[in-house]
């Protein structure tokens, strides 16, 4: 009885894995066109205590509608070089958000200036991943990257803190 259960379980697991693999094989990344979108923050001089800044790369948006993860290349932000990021967006149930209008802007609140470029989300990749092109940081120090996200759960926003060496 027990051995039969184990065998059934193994068969089920194998079948599931095969099905899952088939889905993965046929479900190649879909590149969804994105709506061009920009926000322009005014980076007025602002002082925020170092110990009150949250530097986590994966956080909930201000209104709690999304969990967003920022992924610079190799998890390291290059300096003075144009580069791309991947943003990963999930809803509160942990389901990947594939369709959303995402705007991005960044700046240095302490210095009162923005990014030297105007980056944009250029591709919705798959499984909640979005490609951001045109990222560039001109100097070391505290940077803020602001995102506004408007997908099926509704509009929301988040500010990520970065400390660049």
């Amino acid at each position: 009885m027990r051995s039969r259960s184990i065998a059934s379980l193994a068969t089920f697991a194998t079948t599931s894995c095969v099905i899952a693999l088939c889905i993965a094989a046929t479900d190649a990344p879909r590149r969804v066109p994105v709506v061009p979108c920009t926000i322009q923050e005014s980076w007025n001089r602002e002082v925020v205590a170092e110990n009150s800044r949250n530097y986590a790369p994966s956080r909930l948006t201000d209104g709690g509608k999304y969990r967003v993860t920022i992924r610079p290349p190799d998890d390291r932000v290059p300096m003075r070089t144009l580069h791309s990021w991947i943003l990963h967006v999930e809803d509160m149930k942990g389901v990947a958000v594939d369709s959303a209008t995402i705007c991005i802007d960044g700046g240095m609140p302490e210095h009162g200036h923005g990014l030297p470029t105007r980056p944009a989300v250029t591709e919705a990749l798959h499984n909640g991943d979005f490609r951001v092109d045109g990222m560039k940081f001109s100097m070391s120090g505290w940077w803020v990257v602001k995102l506004t996200i408007d997908g099926p759960p509704g509009p929301d926003s988040i500010r990520f803190n970065l400390k660049l060496p």
Partner: protein
């Protein structure tokens, strides 16, 4: 176990003594820098520059034949309306590839200071306002300026046909037939030259413009290798960050104090970053226009020009793919911060390049530093500066440090 722990403590204490002793015997107390500062100093060193980034918009950028042709074109005064002006007229090799004048002088007088071309292969933007986005398109701007070279596209194509046909055709293919063309015609010439240009067919205009573009790409290939060698500052950083060598290249206590101000209270590092000591970006630092000059809006106008430019990275004369034109695609197009903003100049060899400012407004480094110390308001837009409140001694120390950035200029040998 316990004796093992004791051994470790004894070893650590001995090591600490040895390290302390080493620092005492090899470095002056003013040469002790935090790990963070050492990282910053390394990032400013010329060693951190490496080779210039590729220029996908110019497929001849690394071709030695283009370097050789570009070098000859750079010094050729026939590339001007009066036969007296070459690139080297304002970009003098013996003067850091600039002219030492407040305003450039070609066939007339320009509205701005001549920028050096040394190290420009590292910049995504050219001119004080960044109205061009490659070395080759930069080289074309003065050729068609009425006050610089003052010539036109057909004139320059005929100079190539007469003086450089063999070298040109080896690189770029056959020159178009120029026999029946007007001597001087171009889209940016005087009224008669523009009229003559408009009368030409699209095919002829395109083929002549391609010759013009290839002049720029050749000159750029020559300019690409012109860069800075190590300065006293670079040698100092090298000895600081390589503990096995003695600190042979010392800076004086004033120079080191100036360097600390550069990184700290002086806030110079905010814009003068990286091995070329420039962020290659645009800032309003409240430098007033010259008395009687037309107001200069700087980047606010320059960005519109580069976006609309015939010779930009995305244009049909560029060799780059669209995906390789990120700087232009993601450029900051508008905003109050662009008004009267000018490109940060490199500080390498800065002591040899007076006068300073986009129109040569400051005769000496001391006057530049005084300006930054006082931080006057901008006449247009908003200055990013805030008063530094540095003492006269500190200003002198900062200047002393800036003078340690003098180093050789490296010019590639053209075959």
């Amino acid at each position: 176990m316990r004796s093992g722990r004791m051994s470790a403590i004894v070893f650590a204490a001995t090591a600490a003594l040895v390290v302390t002793g080493f620092v005492r015997t090899t470095a002056h107390s003013s040469d002790v820098w935090s790990g963070e500062d050492l990282g910053t100093l390394r990032s400013l060193s010329i060693r951190a520059a490496g080779p210039p980034p590729p220029d996908p918009s110019n497929r001849f950028a690394e071709d030695p034949r283009a370097v050789a042709l570009g070098k000859r074109l750079f010094f050729d005064t026939r590339l001007s309306s009066n036969g007296k002006v070459a690139c080297a007229t304002c970009h003098l090799p013996a003067r850091e590839f600039q002219d030492g004048l407040p305003l450039g002088r070609g066939v007339g007088v320009t509205g701005r200071r001549t920028m050096t071309i040394v190290g420009t292969a590292y910049s995504p933007w050219f001119f004080w306002d960044g109205r061009m986005d490659s070395q080759w398109s930069q080289a074309l701007g003065p050729l068609e300026s009425a006050v610089e070279h003052g010539g036109t596209r057909t004139l320059y194509a005929s100079v190539v046909a007469q003086g450089y046909r063999r070298e040109y055709e080896q690189l770029f293919g056959a020159l178009p037939s120029l026999a029946s063309l007007p001597r001087s015609a171009g889209p940016n010439g005087n009224a008669a030259e523009r009229e003559s240009w408009a009368a030409l067919s699209d095919t002829i205009r395109d083929s002549v413009t391609r010759v013009f573009v290839n002049i720029g790409k050749s000159i750029a290939a020559f300019e690409r290798g012109i860069t800075y060698g190590p300065s006293r500052f670079d040698k100092y950083v090298a000895t600081l960050t390589n503990a096995t060598k003695p600190a042979a290249a010392r800076l004086s206590s004033d120079e080191v104090a100036g360097l600390r101000l550069f990184l700290g209270r002086g806030q110079c590092i905010r814009c003068h970053t990286g091995p070329m000591l420039t962020d290659n970006l645009f800032h309003n630092v409240g430098v007033a226009d010259r008395v009687g000059a037309n107001p200069d809006s700087g980047r606010a106008t320059g960005v519109r020009q580069v976006i609309a430019g015939e010779f930009n990275c995305l244009g049909r004369f560029s060799d780059a793919k669209k995906s390789e034109c990120g700087e232009l695609t993601f450029v900051v197009k508008d905003g109050a911060e662009l008004v009267q903003a000018f490109r940060t100049p490199s500080l390498r060899n800065i002591a040899r390049r007076s006068p300073y400012g986009h129109a040569g407004q400051f005769a000496t480094l001391a006057r530049v530093l005084d300006h930054y110390n006082r931080a006057p308001s901008a006449s247009a837009g908003h200055s990013e500066l805030e008063p530094l409140h540095l003492t006269p001694t500190q200003l002198r120390q900062l200047e002393a440090f800036l003078r340690t950035l003098d180093g050789p200029v490296i010019v590639p040998a053209a075959r």
